[in-house]
Subunit: 177 residues, 2 copies
């Protein structure tokens, strides 16, 4: 299983504008990139807050055949939301979740937030790549890309101007020795 | 007076590695860039913590003719450190500090941290450019680029690979309407 964290942040590292949930602050160039990028993945993992914010879009993708697993401490709370074999809710470890996706025949996983889920998977050393959109904004506050301290070394794979002043940086995830 | 904020951060927006003061985490490529970049400025402004961390280097630059103003709430505390006309300590506003530099005939100011000083000058709308080195690291904790919420729009001026996986991004500072 190949896992790619996909996110957009302000230059100073916030994935939300102040306390406002979701990524409404992102540019049209990023939204186009995000839609196109998602087509390269046959499964998605996200936290429950990201699920709530992207619920309609996520359920449409699941209905169309993308296997989605939502990470939550309390899967029973979402019993009415689950779509068997398509949209699942799990309190498992990153390793367990990825095994579950593999057993369903999936090969490329998009990790879609939020910061807790990013850190949960990063700490488990299962993230292969990070595709990070850098919006030309400074927020000085909001939700961070990561929720826990780490010391992770990256290798730059690519940099691309998505449009306007918005950059896409792609990194492979290494590990500080 | 043209003011350029110069800093280096992890990809996720930290200008220190966790709680460790200073920028020892930066790459050799960034250190070379930083030394070369500073030659383009005839004055420097920094907060008192940045002064303490860079004291020897900063005093050498002041002795060599760069006018340095250290922003502090308590200039009297540094009475023994001051070098008249070269290294000054001020509790003035950003506007007052820049006037003082202009009256000394200076034209290009490098703003060198830390996060409180960045936010102090950003809120006063006196920063013209931001030159931000992006190190290929994730820290998940540390001192942030900015200390206060803002909503500042930037224009991308340039992007450059400094060496290895280290990027330099240059932005002009606009203002969200």
């Amino acid at each position: 299983m190949h896992v790619t964290l996909i996110a957009a942040q302000s230059l100073d590292g916030y994935i939300t504008y102040h306390a406002k949930p979701g990524s409404a602050f992102t540019s049209e160039a990023d939204k186009q990139h995000f839609r196109a990028a998602l087509k390269q993945f046959d499964c998605r993992v996200m936290g429950s807050e990201t699920y709530r914010v992207t619920r309609d879009m996520t359920r449409r993708a699941a209905a169309a055949g993308v296997l989605v697993i939502v990470v939550t401490r309390d899967p029973s709370r979402y019993a009415d939301e689950a779509l068997p074999g398509r949209l699942l809710f799990s309190s498992g470890s990153p390793g367990e979740i990825l095994v579950q996706l593999e057993q369903a025949g999936r090969k490329r996983c998009a990790l879609l937030g939020g910061s807790k889920t990013h850190s949960f998977f990063l700490a488990a050393k299962v993230i292969d790549e990070i595709w990070l959109t850098i919006e030309p904004r400074l927020f000085g506050g909001g939700t961070r890309l990561l929720d826990e301290p780490t010391d992770t070394v990256l290798q730059l794979l690519g940099r691309e101007l998505l449009g306007g002043d918005t950059l896409l940086l792609r990194y492979a995830v290494g590990r500080r020795s």
